[in-house]
């Protein structure tokens, strides 16, 4: 029988191995599910893990899906490390898109390509304003940031709805709730002709590097994390937990807003009420599966996108229901949390046939 007991210190090996073990268990359960549903498990796994990577077009599509998740999750990682629980990245994403759309709609026949920079900046500002409200209310009135940021998601969606149903509605759009399709000059430049992946990929890679440097190689980043982990110790050391609050929220809001701008001026090309597909919420899972580490988040965002796209392909290739995507995502998170137990604890073999030591069994 095994016994679970606390480790003297967290296991470094397990903290790296746990996501891999979790993935392995997820795949194993997935295989059983495929068999149970009467599908070829090899084919099923191939569709989920190989097909979304099979050629340049597929990889480009994976990038389109992963970039917003990656950007938002990176921001959230900083925020959570500052011990600020921003649940409202979805709202910040929407507001970034709204601000970016406003700039995009100002484009006229004579506008130059510089407008793309303005669109992206507007996205960052829009998202940061939305998270700034959370920071202000927390700072000034000690309002719970979880509730405030979550509620602002709904306010943001209503604001977007108001705009596309009202003042921003396309006059030639037969009253459909949508803006005009933005002029092509506002389009986020693509990496290659014929592929939808755009410079968002490069921005995301730069952001990964920048945040890694910020968190692990700068004094400010260190202050932020200490302020988050031990506010009292941080105060004693003269670090401001207020600045941790503001920096965490503004960075995560700005990143979410940037993702919104890239989406609305990239693959969308117009603002509609259907801009949000839950990236802001999914990114919370991505951030935690990626261990709140910039490099880890690269992998987790790719994995998450793999599940999304794989789920879609499984529908058209194997006739599996859409729910399969959610099952896989849920399984991964569940097994990861389970395996994480082994970082702080270990299993000890306590022998066989000694009932007095094995009450658990």
């Amino acid at each position: 029988m095994f016994k679970l007991e606390a480790r003297p210190q967290p296991s470094r090996l397990m903290s790296c191995a746990s996501p891999l073990i979790a993935l392995a268990i997820t795949v194993l359960i997935g295989v059983c599910l495929f068999i149970w549903l009467g599908k070829d498990p090899v084919k099923g796994l191939e569709i989920f893990f190989v097909e979304p990577l099979k050629n340049a077009q597929a990889i480009s599509e994976l990038a389109v899906k992963a970039v917003p998740l990656l950007l938002i999750a990176l921001g959230l990682a900083v925020c959570v490390r500052a011990n600020v629980w921003n649940i409202g990245a979805e709202g910040q994403y929407l507001l970034g898109a709204v601000a970016a759309s406003w700039v995009a709609m100002q484009a006229g026949p004579g506008t130059g390509r510089w407008i793309v920079v303005a669109i992206l900046l507007a996205g960052v500002i829009g998202g940061a304003i939305w998270s700034g409200i959370v920071a202000f209310l927390k700072d000034r009135f000690n309002a719970n940031e979880i509730l405030v940021s979550l509620m602002l998601v709904y306010v943001g969606q209503q604001l977007l709805d108001f705009l596309v149903y009202g003042p921003w509605k396309d006059p030639d759009g037969y009253n459909f709730p949508q803006t005009i399709t933005f002029l092509s000059v506002t389009k986020i430049p693509r990496l290659m002709v014929g592929y939808r992946a755009n410079i968002g990929v490069i921005i995301a890679i730069v952001a990964v590097a920048a945040l890694w440097v910020f968190l692990f190689r700068t004094y400010r980043g260190f202050q932020l994390q200490v302020g988050g982990m031990a506010p009292a110790a941080a105060r004693y050391a003269g670090f401001s937990s207020r600045s941790a609050l503001w920096i965490g929220l503004l960075i995560s809001g700005g990143m979410a807003g940037l993702a919104g701008a890239l989406e609305v001026a990239g693959p969308m090309g117009q603002l509609t009420p259907y801009l949000s597909v839950g990236y802001g919420f999914a990114a919370i899972i991505v951030a935690f599966v990626g261990r709140l580490h910039p490099v880890g988040i690269v992998f987790s965002s790719l994995l998450m996108s793999l599940f999304y796209i794989g789920g879609e392909l499984a529908q058209s290739r194997l006739g599996l229901p859409k729910a399969m995507t959610s099952v896989f995502q849920g399984l991964l998170l569940f097994t990861l949390l389970g395996c994480d137990t082994l970082i702080l604890n270990r299993l000890r073999w306590i022998g066989v046939g000694k009932p007095k030591h094995s009450e658990e069994a």
Binding site: I35, P41, K43, Y174, S316, V352
Partner: protein, 374 residues
Amino acid sequence: MRPSRTSLLCKLVACTAVAATAFIGCDKKKEAPAEPAKPQAFKVAFAYVGPVGDGGWTFAHDNARKALEKELGDKIQTTFVEKVPEGADAERVFRDLASQGNTLIFGTTFGYMEPMLKAAADLKNVKFEHATGYKTAENLRTYDSRTYEGAYMAGVLAGGMTKTNTLGVVGSIPIPEVIRNINSFTLGAQSVNPRIKTKVVWVNAWFDPPKETEAAQSLLNQGVDVLMQNTDSSAVLQAAEKAGKYGIGWDSDMHAYGPKAHLASAVANWAPYYIKATKDAMEGKWTTGKAWWGVKEGAIDLVSISDKVPADLKAKVEKVKAGLKDGSHVIWQGPIQDNTGKEVLAKGKVADDEWLGGIKFFVKGVDAKVPGGK
């Protein structure tokens, strides 16, 4: 604790064995694609906005897909992807369906318009069919049902059954289609009862049962005694049932959701169009355009008329249906006034499809303002 351990081991072994046999089984299946090489099936794909089990819009489209399969048998092969969001994801789905060899692809919601246009611009050898949109391309055409004919027939029943002369509609999104349905419902009711007033509450969603219920309740509070809706769920009919008033089923036969309240269901049947479009594409006769099918083509019907409806009223509805079928009954024929008293269609003039497609006003008798209208 030995037994438990051995039993665990046994289970593990059993599991592995099962998995192994399944693998082998699959391999066997792979080895024997012994089906005689039949002629390449024509591949048709559908992208749905909702889950196929929504009981309304997507359900109706999927039923039509099944009818298409039944009609054309193994000459075709259909595929669908459900719950495709109306954002950046849709384009990927269309491109992927095309890469799978589907040469005819149906997109069943308005929000796919821009993604389909983008995909169609690159994939010239694929034919795209977009439901309820207004933009077309050389290889992208639109199709829709004249749902307003169903609304009109339902209106005839409602006008004959109401005691308060006040009808209510739960509206989804104030686009011309929905405004036209509310207008046609009112015109139908006025054809049997000129004193009719129609009240409207918007929910700004196609599927939101709690909001629909709330909207229905607020209409009932305003003295409405027959409810109609242009949303996808059965919530409004259920609210009518609970209040002891009348309701109308929409998109599919909803009789079972409110057996006492249900007057009739205005249903859309997409199968005739899907069969025709697929045959067009298979026979190389496919050309772009805008299809708008109604009672005449079998795309719209009023079904399950309640026993509570008196025989003479029933006869009136049947007469209208027959008239719509042979083209002798025209719903949108002047004189028609809007609800500010302005004449929008002169006496004797018949509205054409373009005019109908751009309706942004309510007809006389609708006690509401079009949101965002000028």
